[in-house]
Amino acid sequence: MSHQPLSSIEEGVIEVLKSVARRPVEPTLASDLIADLGFDSVRVLEVIAELEDRFDISIPLNEVPATRTVAEVVALVAPLVLERSSA
């Protein structure tokens, strides 16, 4: 049973955000996906798909509208990654 440390999840999320953004961005945990990173709803769906592939998880889309900041994305992804690692 191996648990991926949270910091690597944060790093992974930030890498995905950078790769999906069409322009150079420097996301921090406090960055707002829409206001700071300029993502629209289509781009957010792309972020979700990339995160799912990277971490081998399924992110319920029901949770996405309430997710505004990078920290909230990490909070969405982390339990799913931990659940998968411990499965």
Partner: protein
């Protein structure tokens, strides 16, 4: 603190940049219909390559006569919902017509295609269920999932492999899962690999709903859509269709071999709490179905027109979508360029659809032309002439021409 209306003011400001232009996206007024593929916009005859009138039936004499007769017999409106205010014989006639056409025992019609998806997805899925949707799904599918308390999971567009992975990750047996895809996708104009999707669904015990909004009437030997075309109609649990495209009316339908579909009449909110289709509309659609069933040559003409338009666009130098389908996306990219091209085409007498964010990703803007069986050879030639001239003028096709 932001005012409620600030969000709308921001959008209004964006729309205002077109206020004085000859053409404003999303606000085109069609003053007159000259024919199934020709209209009048701002006093100018305009070729219509942006409707979903795939078989050109909106002015077919049989459809128009049936609608007229229905008004005489049943009046203009139904005054309310079928549940509260009564089902007309016309509603049941049309449902029987769809059962016969599809060779499936159960059909329910809805007031719009949008409400068909809301009713199906909302009526089938609740707490503890899982809805898996293709990421390119239409807004009606996404909106339906938002109204449900079921868990919603997306999978990559047209990827049976992505769907398989998502299904594999779910715990337990698959009886509470609904996979939702479209036959023909309306923005990219590409077709779902339904055989593979059916296989994945069967392997994981998931139900499959296929929305054939754009493919009903245009694909398959009997015009039943992409599932028929790919030989998997019997394996699709729920086929959703719309009347507003090939069938020249307004409304939606679901056909199924599952008798439980009947129960949706008591649980689907978008069926119960809305006004039912009007008599003229129902009779017109019924006539259109009969024409589609009796005249496969309409589809042959449509596909001949599609090949002509695609070849012409390629020769001019437009980059178009890979899939041969009634929806022909011209890939433009930049939003300002796409808007400018769209406006110039309209001013020159050609109406196509403009697809800009949020309907597509930023930088991936598209002009969408839709083919009709009713486009004449002369109209296709004129449309291609306009596209060649305006495309060269704005530099959209220059790279290829030079």
């Amino acid at each position: 603190m932001m005012d409620l209306l600030d969000k709308l003011r921001g959008i209004e400001k964006k729309a205002e940049q077109f206020a004085d232009a000859a053409a404003a996206p999303g606000r085109t007024v069609i003053d007159q219909i000259l024919g199934p593929c020709e209209v009048v916009v701002r006093g100018r005859p305009t070729l219509m390559f942006g409707s979903n009138n795939y078989l050109g039936l909106t002015l077919h004499p049989d459809v128009v006569d049936a609608a007229r007769r229905a008004i005489g017999a049943f009046g203009t409106g139904t005054t309310g919902s079928r549940t509260a205010n009564g089902t007309l014989a016309l509603h049941e006639d049309l449902e029987r017509e769809f059962c016969e056409w599809f060779g499936k025992p159960h059909a329910i019609i809805f007031s719009t295609g949008y409400q068909a998806n809301l009713s199906l997805i909302g009526g089938l899925c609740g707490a503890g269920d899982v809805i898996l949707v293709d990421s390119d799904s239409h807004a009606s599918i996404y909106d339906a999932t938002r109204q449900s308390v079921a868990q919603v999971i997306g999978f990559r567009h047209n990827s049976p492999e992505s769907l398989r992975r998502k299904l594999e990750r779910l715990p337990g047996p698959g009886g509470n899962r609904l996979v939702v895809v479209e036959g023909l996708y309306s923005i990219r104009g590409d077709v779902a690999p339904l055989r593979e999707i059916v296989e994945v669904c069967r392997a994981h015990g998931a139900y499959l709903l296929v929305d054939e909004a754009h493919s009903l009437g245009t694909y398959g030997r009997s015009g039943l859509g992409c599932a028929e075309d790919q030989g998997v109609l019997a394996q699709v649990d729920f086929v959703v269709g719309t009347f507003s495209k090939s069938l020249a009316g307004v409304g939606g339908v679901c056909v199924s071999h599952h008798p439980e579909l009947r129960v949706l009449r008591f649980v689907a909110r978008a069926y119960i709490f809305t006004a039912s289709g009007s008599p003229s509309n129902l009779a017109g659609v019924s006539a259109a179905v009969k024409i589609v069933r009796a005249h496969p040559e309409l589809r042959e003409q449509l596909w001949s027109n599609i090949r002509r338009l695609r070849q012409g666009l390629r020769e001019i130098g437009y980059v178009i979508g890979d899939t041969e389908s009634p929806i022909v996306p011209m890939l433009i990219g930049d939003e300002q360029l796409a808007i400018a091209l769209w406006q110039r085409l309209l001013i020159e007498g050609l109406y196509v659809n403009l697809i800009v964010p949020p309907a597509c990703p930023a930088g991936a803007c598209v002009l969408r032309a839709s083919c009709s069986a009713a486009h004449t050879s002369a109209q296709l030639t004129r449309a291609l002439d306009i596209l060649a001239r305006v495309g060269a003028e704005l530099g959209v096709t220059r790279a290829v021409l030079s």
